[in-house]
C-alpha cells in the first residue's frame, strides 16, 4: 500500500475540518429566525432598587395597582414597600400595611409604639417580582400557564392558569398571589405592556426619588446596567439559587 504526500495532506485536512466544525455550524436558519434570535438577544430586563433613596411614600404601590387593574382595597399587590425599624435590643420590627399603598405617615408599627431613642436604624425596602432566571414558580406550574419570555420576564397566561396555587407556594419571595377578580395567579411583570412600548414601568415613573429603575442587562451603555455591573449591589435570598434579577443598593442583613 502506497500513500502519496498529496493523498496524506488531503486526508489530514479533511479529517481536521470534520472534527473541528460542529454539526450545528451547518444548520440553516431562515432570515426571520436569524432576526428573532438577534432581537431577543438584545434585551434582558432587570431592576435596580436604591433603598437609601426610598422614603416610603407608597406612590409606586398605588400607581402599580391602578396601572395593572389590581383590586385597590384588597390586601394583595404586585409590588409593596416594607418598613424596617431595628432597635437596640437587636429586634427588627417590620410592617407593610396594605403593602405601603398609603405611605407611612405615622410611627406606629403593628399598633405598637416604639420609643425613638431605642431605634438604631430605620429604612424602607421596596419589593417586586425578581424575574428569576431559575424561577421556581415556573418549574412547578402543572399546565404551562407561566413561563419566561426571551427578554427574561416571567409572565402568567391568565387564560391557561387553573388557579391551583402551586406557584404561589413555590415563590420564596412571596411575590405571587391569587387575583380575586381574574381568579388566577398574579404577579409583577415589570409592566410588560409598558416596557415593550419603550415606556418605564408604572412604579418607576411614579417614583420621585429615583429609588426604582429599570435596566437592560444586554445593553452595556444602559446607565442602570453600568451601576449594576460596576457598583456594589445585592439580591434577595441568593442562597435559593433562583438567580433573581432585582438588584438592591443599601440592603441590610436584617432584610428578609
Amino acid at each position: 500500500m502506497t500513500c502519496s504526500r498529496r493523498h496524506f495532506l488531503k486526508e489530514a485536512v479533511g479529517g481536521t475540518l470534520a472534527t473541528v466544525l460542529p454539526l450545528s455550524a451547518f444548520t440553516f436558519i431562515s432570515s426571520e429566525e436569524a432576526k428573532a434570535a438577534l432581537d431577543s438577544a438584545k434585551v434582558r430586563w432587570a431592576f435596580l432598587v436604591d433603598t437609601t433613596k426610598c422614603i416610603g411614600c407608597g406612590l409606586c404601590v398605588s400607581a402599580c395597582k391602578t396601572e395593572n387593574e389590581i383590586p385597590y382595597d384588597a390586601p394583595v399587590t404586585r409590588t409593596w414597600v416594607e418598613r424596617y425599624v431595628v432597635t437596640k435590643d437587636g429586634q427588627t420590627h417590620i410592617d407593610s400595611p396594605l403593602g405601603g399603598r398609603d405611605g407611612y405617615i405615622d410611627d406606629m408599627i403593628r399598633d405598637e409604639e416604639i420609643p425613638a431613642e431605642e431605634v438604631t436604624k430605620a429604612f424602607f425596602v421596596p419589593k417586586l417580582c425578581n424575574q428569576c432566571d431559575n424561577a421556581p414558580c415556573v418549574q412547578v406550574c402543572p399546565v404551562g400557564a407561566t413561563y419566561q419570555t426571551d427578554d427574561g420576564v416571567v409572565l402568567i397566561d391568565r387564560e391557561w392558569c387553573i388557579g391551583c396555587g402551586y406557584c404561589i407556594m413555590a415563590c420564596p419571595y412571596g411575590v405571587r398571589f391569587f387575583n380575586p377578580e381574574t381568579r388566577t395567579a398574579e404577579k409583577c411583570n415589570f409592566c410588560y405592556h409598558r416596557i415593550s412600548k419603550g415606556l418605564q414601568p408604572a412604579c418607576v415613573q411614579s417614583c420621585a426619588f429615583g429609588a426604582r429603575r429599570l435596566a437592560n442587562l444586554e445593553d452595556p451603555d444602559d446607565p442602570v446596567t453600568k451601576i449594576i455591573t460596576t457598583e456594589r449591589v445585592a439580591v434577595l435570598k441568593d442562597e435559593y439559587g433562583t438567580k433573581p434579577h432585582v438588584f438592591y443598593i443599601g440592603l441590610d442583613a436584617s432584610v428578609r
Partner: protein, 156 residues
C-alpha cells in the same frame, strides 16, 4: 390472547386515543416549547402579545403639555419637579374625553406620604422638608396655603 386481557386493553387504548384526539382540538396551535427549554419555556405563544396589548393608564407628564403647558413649566422649575403630574391627579387615560376632570383637591394624607415627620432615623427622609401632622394647621388642607406646582409659592 385471552378475551379477559383484550377487553381492558382495548378500553385503555380507546381512552388514550380519545384523549389524544381531544387534545388536538383543545390545545391551541401555538402552545409548545418556545423559550430556552421545556422547564421555563412551555407556553402559549400568543399570550406574550396579549400582555403587550394590555392598556397603558399612566401617560407621563409630556402628554399633559399640550393643554397644561403653564403648569408643567412651573412644576419643572420647582422643588416638586421630580413628581409626575399623575402621582397627584391620577392616571390620564380617558382624559379629557370622556373623563373631563381629574382630581385636584387631594387631602393632607397625600402630601404627608412624603412630608410626614418621623422620630425614627430614616436617612432617606432628609431629602424632603418635614411637617408634623398633629401640630401644623390641623383643620386646613395643604393646597389652601401651598401651591403644589411650586411649594415655594404661597397661596393668598
Amino acid at each position: 390472547m385471552k378475551w379477559h386481557v383484550l377487553r381492558p386493553l382495548w378500553l385503555t387504548i380507546g381512552v388514550v386515543a380519545s384523549i389524544l384526539i381531544a387534545r388536538v382540538f383543545l390545545v391551541p396551535d401555538d402552545f409548545g416549547v418556545h423559550g430556552r427549554n421545556f422547564t421555563y419555556g412551555y407556553y402559549r405563544l400568543s399570550n406574550v402579545q396579549e400582555w403587550k396589548d394590555f392598556t397603558v393608564k399612566y401617560q407621563g407628564r409630556e402628554s399633559c403639555r399640550e393643554c397644561h403647558e403653564e403648569n408643567l413649566v412651573k412644576l419643572n422649575d420647582s422643588p416638586h419637579s421630580a413628581i409626575e403630574c399623575e402621582n397627584c391627579h391620577g392616571p390620564a387615560i380617558g382624559h379629557p374625553d370622556p373623563v373631563e376632570m381629574l382630581p385636584n383637591d387631594l387631602p393632607r394624607e397625600h402630601c404627608l406620604r412624603c412630608h410626614a415627620t418621623t422620630d425614627f432615623p430614616f436617612v432617606s427622609k432628609a431629602q424632603v422638608p418635614m411637617v408634623n401632622n398633629r401640630m401644623h394647621r390641623r383643620r386646613r388642607e395643604c393646597y389652601e396655603c401651598h401651591n403644589p406646582h411650586d411649594p415655594r409659592e404661597e397661596v393668598e
